[in-house]
């Protein structure tokens, strides 16, 4: 693991160094994204960690309930 050119050094669940024991870190690519499959030998957490270069969201439609809830929360926040 230490030889891998990766910023992932520690388990995101327990913080154990991934160079310890048989922890497994495997890089793979999806389009422009780099993803690391990780299994931690210390806590057995298994999952994928994605390097994020740019955060892209989707603008919700105005009739979307989540948009209304967000607007309501924003109003409550401003009024407070």
């Amino acid at each position: 693991v230490a030889e891998l050119d990766s910023s992932v050094r520690f388990c995101p669940a327990c913080g154990q160094a991934l160079a310890v024991g048989m922890s497994y870190l495997q890089e793979f690519w999806v389009a422009t994204e780099t993803i690391y499959y990780c299994w931690c030998s210390s806590c057995s957490w298994r999952g994928e960690i994605k390097a994020v270069a740019r955060v892209i969201g989707v603008e919700p439609a105005e009739d979307d309930q989540s948009f209304s809830d967000l607007h309501e929360l924003e109003t409550i926040y401003r009024n407070s």
């Binding site: 048989m22 497994y24 690519w29």
Partner: protein, 422 residues
Amino acid sequence: MLSTERNEALTRVGRGTPAGELLRRYWYPVAAVADLDANPVVKVRLLGEDLALYRDGQGTLGLVAEACPHRRASMAYGIPEEVGLRCPYHGWLFNDRGACLEQPAEAPGSTFKDRITTTAYPVQELGGMIFAYLGPEPAPLLPRFDLYVWEGMLRSVGRTLVPCNWLQIMENSVDATHAEWLHGRYFNYVLGRQEPGSERANYLKGLSRHHIKIGFDRFEWGIIKRRVLEGNTEEHDDWAIGHPLVFPFMLRVGNSKIHTFQIRVPVDDTNTMHYWYTVEPPEDGVELPPQRSVPIYEVPWRQENGAFIVDYIDGQDVMCWVTQGDIAQRNLEHLGTSDKGIILLRGMLAEQIDLVKQGRDPMGVIRDPAQNEIIVLPEERNKTHTSVADRRTAPRLGHTRYNPYHEEFQRLLHGEPVQSSL
């Protein structure tokens, strides 16, 4: 990419290495019973250890270190006695537990032999094969997988030595999309050049189908591989049932008319003995005579000029495994999302190595006889990649084309009279 350090840990098979210690928790086929019928002593190399397998005059199987502890001559040239195996050089005699029974050149009454033992491992016979266990005692049970114990079917075994590490062969078993390319597009390309207009090409249509979706599920014995091919749905057997990689060294594949274990036995770091253990049920209403012997045959993969034989499915696989290098350099590869089965397998391997380091049994090791009466594995009944039509007339696209008993088998399976030597 995988670090060089992890690649070493996952691939090396010697005693004391991470994967080597894991792999020593399993039983491996090391020969066919037919091999010992032909010669009662055979040389075996397994997990980097050189050994001599024999059957003595009482019918007892033994597996001992090839080098005699006296002067290191080969026990694979030894003489099977009524009890044990005798070194051809000076006659030292060893039993199946490694005890030295005789040292004929020493003085009568000498107790020197009592101070000498040789390495000896347990061996068992099942389904026409001989299995060995090189791990710590007590040995687990030899798994009674369905294909080894089903009755009323015909068995045959193909074999070849592949000069590469075992893991890249196993990774092929969870590399779903290679079928579409290597056994579809590439096979068509090869046949188009070799035999234009070949009827065999018609049988490749299933293999060429595009993968819409692939899936991998962990289960008790390893990983079930699933696929949805273009034109199919999740209702088809390819997805609804799938077929398993049996951790850590087997693949089960087939359909309702033919069942196969592809068994990848790690000989050493850079060689793997590949067995195709095939079981064929008879046509409906046909009762087979008892099979006295399971034949074993060699599956070639090189032409006389050294080039790979690529006009059959298994030869194509061997070409890819060997050209990846003796141990694939995983630090140089570039995996994509279609390689998730491979990633899952490597992660599982790391987990199971860790279990062994903790002193626990890894996946697939069984010790309860009640769980070992018969282990039935999932397998597609109707597999899109392989036709279940008339198996007698369908062209043999895989290793069975080298089975010298194929025609005899077909007559037996169809209930036709035949003078069988088996």
